[in-house]
Point group: C2
């Protein structure tokens, strides 16, 4: 068993193409020996966004703090604390902070083999501007 507090886990900048103002904390994952999936916390700064993309694996998301939107294909859906999002494999999605404070959410993801294709939606860089 491993027990730690979120505040003890270092943040890393998200450098993925199409993202802006995002940091990630890997809370549980392969370094802990987790056999199947990883728990991460994302923090998106006001005005920031994750990439608009799709991939052949799912996300299970729990919104902790802040106000945002999730792009669901061509639709924009408001997002706030206590919201739960299931992003199915191959769903086009993007998380954007639409409020004045950080948008924080947990995002659980299966362990993804290297070279798994991620398809960036071309207009993703324009969306957040």
């Amino acid at each position: 068993m491993k027990l730690q507090n979120l505040n003890e886990v270092p943040s890393q900048d998200v450098t993925m193409e199409g993202s802006s103002g995002c940091q990630v904390k890997w809370l549980v994952g392969q370094p802990e020996g987790a056999p199947n999936f990883a728990m991460r916390q994302f923090e998106v700064a006001p005005g920031g966004f994750t990439p608009k993309h799709s991939h052949p694996y799912e996300h299970e998301v729990y919104v902790q703090e802040g106000q945002g939107v999730v792009i669901d294909g061509d639709q924009e859906r408001p997002l706030g604390p206590g919201d739960v999002v299931y992003v199915a494999p191959n769903d086009i999605h993007q998380f954007r902070n639409a409020g004045p404070t950080p948008l924080k959410f947990l995002c659980i993801v299966p362990h993804v083999p290297k070279d798994t294709p991620v398809t960036l939606v071309p207009e993703c860089e324009a969306v957040g501007k």
Copy 2:
């Protein structure tokens, strides 16, 4: 994509042997088509506890509210908001509310085949009394 708020998800009583005062909300799981793992929220009433047990699959836990302890084998470790617990396969574990308000945590679990063995630790019923 499925988006819903925690408040819209019905609570179910946890009837598992060795538990007391626990409710669960299934936030994402097989009904949503999730291929690998399920997200649940547990709410443990003051004085309540989950079973003291072990099983051959993992938990990834995020504590949202309240004060509790997690039993880690023979050890009792305090638990509060922002704590992250990785329960490895076959770890003996129990979550207990040690405070005056509900203990709420997310618990993510792989989809577990029926008839997966769960070993209840005999003294579990005495622990919470």
